[in-house]
């Protein structure tokens, strides 16, 4: 397909370019001068020591919620794998004979390499069993397998969000510790169980 030609004719000064370049430099230098006198204008966040507060609606790593009695809220209804546009949720349903909820996910895996963080799974869930409110955005691992978040991993993610856990979590989550091997991958990206 041929692209349409821009039909705006350049004026004389524009076609020489030099004037336009100087105009641009003036704007840039203006900001430099302003920033030198008002340093709050450019805040470089000293990540990972300092973290940017995320908005409440930020969609981070998924977590699976528990009921007050400790059982998993998810009933393996399959709404989230059905709605997921990336087809990255794999659930194996099973029967829990001791639970009035009857059905539960024997396994619940999300392939975070394929997830597009659309949040449809959260919207679709009739049980409020899955949320992306963890604000965790460092989702990484040393191999593909560890990028598949499992049910125990996503349940434990809740503990990390508790106030008392958050310090420790942040401490070891800021950067990969030295000598960190995939097998003991303690944080985002590893199977914990």
């Amino acid at each position: 397909m041929a692209l349409p030609k821009p039909n705006k004719k350049l004026t004389g000064s524009e076609s020489s370019y030099l004037v336009e370049v100087i105009k641009g430099m003036v704007i840039t230098l203006g900001h430099v001068v302003k920033n030198i006198f008002d340093q709050d204008r450019f805040r470089t966040i000293e990540y990972p020591d300092v973290r940017k507060p995320m908005t409440p609606r930020y969609r981070g790593a998924h977590r699976l919620l528990l009921r007050p009695d400790g059982g998993i809220k998810c009933v393996a209804c399959m709404c989230c794998p059905t709605v997921c546009p990336a087809r990255c949720i794999t659930i194996v349903a099973g029967e829990n004979p001791n639970d009035p909820a009857e059905k539960f996910p024997v396994s619940f895996d999300i392939d975070m390499l394929r997830c597009i963080y659309c949040g449809f799974c959260v919207e679709a869930c009739p049980k409020d069993a899955i949320r992306m409110d963890t604000k965790i955005y460092e989702i990484n691992a040393y191999n593909r397998q560890d990028m598949v978040h499992s049910k125990p991993y996503m349940i434990n993610l809740m503990d990390r969000l508790k106030p008392e856990a958050s310090e420790a979590y942040r401490a070891d989550h800021t950067t990969a510790p030295a000598g960190h091997t995939p097998d003991e991958a303690p944080v985002a990206g590893g199977h914990l169980g």
Partner: protein, 520 residues
């Protein structure tokens, strides 16, 4: 034939046609719960209410209990009808649990479908719902959740009219009405799976399919059950190459809306450990099983090679075997062995389950009658053979002995014949190929390919085509459509048939001629 009018469509229907069926002919779907084409009319759900003209003016009547008569006019989309449907939905759902997330019916549930089509009211339910007994194991194949029941009584009528077991009943009154088993009873018949099919909601669900897969993932392929000579019409429900269940497909001339539980269970064999997946020669996996078989056939000498047609194999596969023999080794002997053992007869009845557990005995008889010179089990025992090529049937168990110094077997499952066979060639299961079978009525029915053959399997007619090619002359049976046409061209009883003509319900063929029957 009376002329009736459904909305603005005038049509003639056979006298006595029920108006739900008449409307269907006119292309109008009347929502209903309790009506079932193969059960008596109960008229208790009131969902099928339609407006009709009476001497007292337009009135609402239930369509399921209205029979076509001349001049009958029904309107299915008036405001009145719509209001009634909405109210019926509201009543049905007043005490209904919010179980959809864990309910296996979800996705094929008439409460869900009709709520979206005809309900969509704002809930006014402030009171606590009436609780009932959930998760009841009432039979080998069925779970009952009384809370989800809409009291349509289909299952009760099924027990009274089809199985004559009278095991389910509606008990108590008003909103405490509850479906249940008579005390101390369990479902004991072999048609339990049908209860899960006819229950329009998730009250009766299948234990075998329980939580296996959401139904909206499943694709359906029209096929036939090869569990016995009846050949019930079925849907194969599969997803991504895995078969999850068989459900009956309506064919009023064969199985109405039903099928038996042993038939339903048959899909388990497709991907089971007993499946033959690799070709073997003398017990070792081999890529050249077919050329090797051709070599051994030649080495044995045509006069001492036998071929056994398969009563479990399709018409196409049996035809391929006959053509292969005719083209390459006309001196070879052809046999067929009937299979009906004591267990099979015990597991049979006068309804659907036939004592002959082979789908294509009639087909083999038809081909044998046409080809002539096909020996039976006694002839097979008496024959002096160096090599016997067996198509699908477990001939060793049927005859009770290993019949030749060497056996070659084309089949799907491991059995005593595979154990005895020197060469085993895996072939496709019925859900993995297009093929036809002739049932006990003499009806040619089509099975359609739903999934890909597992392992090294190919359809038997293609394996035999390859064997023919290795022997020198391929029988030309690679393509099932053309194979069937070739058969129909030369076998008088199949004359004029082709795959398209068989349709979804199959075609009855002419009965065997008396002369041929006498000659046997």
């Amino acid at each position: 034939m009376p002329k009736v009018k459904v909305n603005d469509v005038e049509l003639e229907v056979p006298a006595g046609t029920n108006m739900i069926e008449a409307a269907k002919l006119a292309g109008v779907e009347i929502p209903h719960y309790c009506y079932h084409p193969h059960l008596s009319v109960a008229g208790n759900c009131r969902m099928c209410m339609c407006e009709t003209d009476t001497p007292r003016g337009p009135m609402l009547e239930i369509a399921c209990n209205m029979q076509a008569r001349d001049g009958l006019v029904i309107r299915t989309e008036t405001d009145n009808v719509k209001a009634v449907r909405k109210s019926v939905m509201e009543f049905l759902l007043v005490n209904h649990p919010l179980d959809c997330p864990i309910c296996d019916q979800s996705g094929e549930c008439r409460l869900q479908d009709y709520y979206m089509d005809h309900g969509k009211y704002d809930s006014r339910g402030n009171e606590a719902k009436v609780g009932k007994h959930k998760r009841q194991d009432i039979g080998e194949h069925i779970m009952l959740d009384a809370e989800r029941c809409v009291q349509c009584s289909r299952c009760v009528r099924f027990g009274d009219e089809i199985t004559h077991t009278g095991d389910l009943a509606l008990m108590n009154r008003g909103d405490h009405t509850e479906i249940g088993m008579f005390p101390g009873m369990r479902l004991e018949h072999d048609y339990q799976g049908n209860l899960a099919d006819i229950c329009p909601v998730g009250a009766l669900t299948s234990k075998d399919f329980r939580f296996q897969r959401r139904v909206w993932y499943l694709r359906e392929t029209a096929s036939v059950c090869t569990g016995c000579a009846t050949g019930c019409n079925i849907q194969v429900c599969h997803q991504e190459g895995e078969v999850f269940r068989y459900t009956p497909r309506r064919n009023d001339d064969v199985n109405q809306s039903w099928m038996c539980d042993p038939g339903r269970d048959r899909h388990v064999a497709i991907g089971s450990l007993s499946r033959v997946l690799r070709a073997t020669v003398d017990g070792a996996p081999s890529a050249d099983a077919i050329p090797e078989l051709a070599r051994r056939i030649r080495a044995a000498g045509a006069g001492r090679v036998g071929f056994v047609l398969g009563t479990q194999a399709s018409l196409e596969a049996n035809w391929a075997m006959l053509q292969l023999v005719r083209a390459n080794c006309p001196d070879a002997k052809v046999f067929w062995v009937a299979g009906a053992d004591a267990d099979a007869i015990a597991k049979s009845d006068t309804f659907l389950m036939d004592a002959d557990k082979n789908a294509n005995t009639a087909g083999v008889k038809l081909l044998a009658e046409w080809a002539g010179n096909v020996g039976d089990a006694a002839a097979l025992r008496a024959a002096d053979l160096a090599l016997l090529v067996v198509l699908e049937d477990d001939v060793v168990s049927r005859v009770g002995e290993v019949l030749a110094p060497a056996l070659a077997y084309l089949g799907t499952q491991h059995n005593p014949t595979t154990a005895a066979a020197a060469i085993v060639v895996p072939v496709a299961h019925v859900v993995e190929m297009d093929a036809t079978y002739l049932n006990r009525q003499g009806r040619v029915q089509r099975a359609r390919r739903a999934t890909n053959p597992l392992g090294e399997a190919v359809p038997a007619y293609q394996a035999l085509d390859a064997l023919g090619a290795a022997l020198g002359r391929a029988p030309g049976t690679r393509m099932p459509v053309a194979t069937f046409l070739a058969m129909a061209r030369v076998i008088p009883r199949l004359a004029g048939l082709d795959y398209r003509g068989l349709g979804t319900n199959g075609k009855l063929i002419a009965p065997a001629t008396p002369a041929a029957a006498e000659a046997k």
